[in-house]
């Protein structure tokens, strides 16, 4: 593995940015691309990848579950910090359905955690992502996107509807606003710090 040998030599250690990532999950139209775009220093990019899914039905003749390949599109954005540490924070906007759970597992390994973007008009769209991150003990926050014309749900009602653990932050959000998107990320990082193994209370 010569690339790893090279990795120890150049570029100089001080110039190597550290990386962190955040998963942003939300149903169709919940505002993932808008949120990534509001805070990213580059216009959001679309990345595609092929996922192999286990088929829902078992072929009764062969006894082998059919596998299908689907293409999933993700949003990508980033923020680079130079102080206090050279750090690149990457944002991955992913679909909100459970069928992409291998993608969520893959992305959330080593990640800060997840932002579940909730649309109060379709709160049920967030259930699958919430259960997934809960079960995997991935730190997550609920960002309630306040759309024009949507009811301003009291955040406690959202918490009750999603049956959230009291520790999970629920934050209001305007996905178009940079400051609002930054606040959501701050809430997530703080939550990740309080739930980190060996965290100071």
């Amino acid at each position: 593995m010569q690339a790893y040998a090279a990795c120890d030599q150049d570029p100089p250690r001080a110039h190597r940015p550290a990386t962190l990532k955040v998963v942003i999950a939300g149903g169709f139209g919940a505002g993932k691309t808008t949120l990534v775009g509001a805070v990213s220093e580059i216009p959001p990019l679309t990345t595609e990848e092929q996922l192999t899914e286990a088929g829902q039905d078992i072929d009764s003749l062969t006894g082998v579950g059919a596998k299908t390949t689907t293409t999933v599109a993700m949003d990508f954005g980033r923020i680079t910090f130079t102080a206090p540490t050279n750090l690149q924070l990457m944002l991955f906007g992913t679909p909100g359905q459970n069928r992409f759970k291998t993608l969520w597992d893959d992305l959330s390994y080593g990640a800060v955690g997840a932002v579940v973007l909730a649309d109060t008009r379709r709160l049920a769209d967030s259930f699958e992502a919430v259960s997934h991150f809960e079960q995997r003990a991935v730190p997550f926050v609920i960002a309630v996107n306040q759309f024009d014309g949507s009811d301003r749900y009291p955040l406690d009602e959202v918490r009750d509807s999603l049956d959230l653990d009291p520790g999970v932050p629920v934050v209001p959000c305007d996905a178009r606003s940079r400051q609002s998107a930054v606040n959501v990320l701050i809430a997530l990082v703080r939550h990740a710090l309080t739930t980190a193994p060996g965290a100071r209370p």
């Binding site: 293409t71 910090f81 206090p84």
Partner: protein, 123 residues
């Protein structure tokens, strides 16, 4: 490929490249290096290396400062898997360096999280 980002420099709304993606990799579907979407890569312009091809040159340009595999995939309008193979070839040719290795623990380091929090608060 219809939803892929058009190649850089293409007029807005231009269709993505129609080439079958794995044509670029000679039909190979697996990368030799352990690469992830968040792996950062940097070009090594000072090193002599062989012909890296058109995609290779474009990747080197994009990696003038450290660039993630996910970003390369988006900018090249190629699926993540194809990008991994192209990058893997360039690592073998020493035309690229893997800047950050793949995450080895499920949760990030507390110091790094604190640095991130401080960075976000300055925005």
């Amino acid at each position: 490929m219809s939803r892929a980002t058009p190649p850089p420099g293409a007029p807005p709304g231009a269709p993505a490249r129609r080439l079958r993606p794995y044509t670029l990799t000679g039909g190979r579907t697996r990368a030799r290096h352990p690469l992830n979407r968040d792996s950062l890569l940097a070009a090594r312009p000072q090193e002599p290396f062989g012909d890296v091809g058109r995609d290779g040159e474009q990747i080197q340009l994009l990696c003038a400062s450290p660039c993630s595999l996910a970003e390369l995939s988006g900018r090249l309008a190629q699926p993540v898997q194809v990008t991994k193979i192209l990058v893997s070839d360039l690592l073998d040719q020493h035309a690229l360096v893997l800047v950050t290795p793949t995450a080895r623990s499920p949760r990030p380091d507390t110091e790094l999280l604190e640095a991130c929090l401080a960075g976000l608060r300055r925005l």
